[in-house]
Amino acid sequence: MGSRMRSSKAEAVTAVDGHTMIISLTGDIDHHSAKRLRGEIDSSLFTLRPKRAVMDMSEVEFMDSAGLGLILGRIACAEKIGCKLTLLSPSRQVMKILDLAGAGRLIEIKQK
């Protein structure tokens, strides 16, 4: 099952695999796109209330600190509903942003 959401360039596509919700992010994540992505992800997260969620970052082309805010915010949202959030395959550039805020201590990061 997959649902494509309204988007311009950056997109958040969610799918469910068993008890895991997969959020596939693509495009540029900046202040311009982060607010819309936040709404889309939270809508799925609070509707589906999965036990586990994976945020697939492998197709993210650009991310600045607004993307960091988006990820930190989703960690907090996932905790509220007892969901364990994992970050999948962030690029080296995305990892540099995550490392600046020590996000590796807050969220599990896996590579494909």
Binding site: D30, H31, H32, F62, S65, A66, Q93, A101
Partner: protein, 170 residues
Amino acid sequence: MTTTKKPMTETAEKRKSGRPPENLKNELRLELPSNSINEGIARSIVSVFVSQLDPTFEELADIKCAVSEAVTNCIVHAYRDTHGTIYITLKILDEKTVRIEIRDRGCGIEDIKTAMQPLYTTDSEGERSGMGFTVMESFMDRLFVVSSLGRGTKITMVKTLGDGRIRGIK
């Protein structure tokens, strides 16, 4: 018969390697309204301009990120409840160095030192990370911030691209 090949001058070598001659002083001035769609547009324009210095993928990504942070600050903070113009000046200082100025005529920063602290944010309801200045400082070589309350802020960032770079490696 023997032929001797005329040695290339230093400038010719640099041209052959795709890098600009030392005396290149290129400059671009840009004015954009403070709409968030322009964050990506500013990144793209800066990216094209900096490409003449033949940056690595990582160097270009760093510069784009720093520009994105500075432009976002203009939109989110300087022109918070209003609209204004963002002034961007890009300058090639030498064959390896770019200087980027991003200026606004917005509200100004009351306490620059506090504003630049990692994780500091005035955003209590949204989800801004408060890492904008930290990103600019980390990804560029030099960062200068000049601000005047009610008159605006000027961010100046300088980055010198490294030598012996492995190109095309992500």
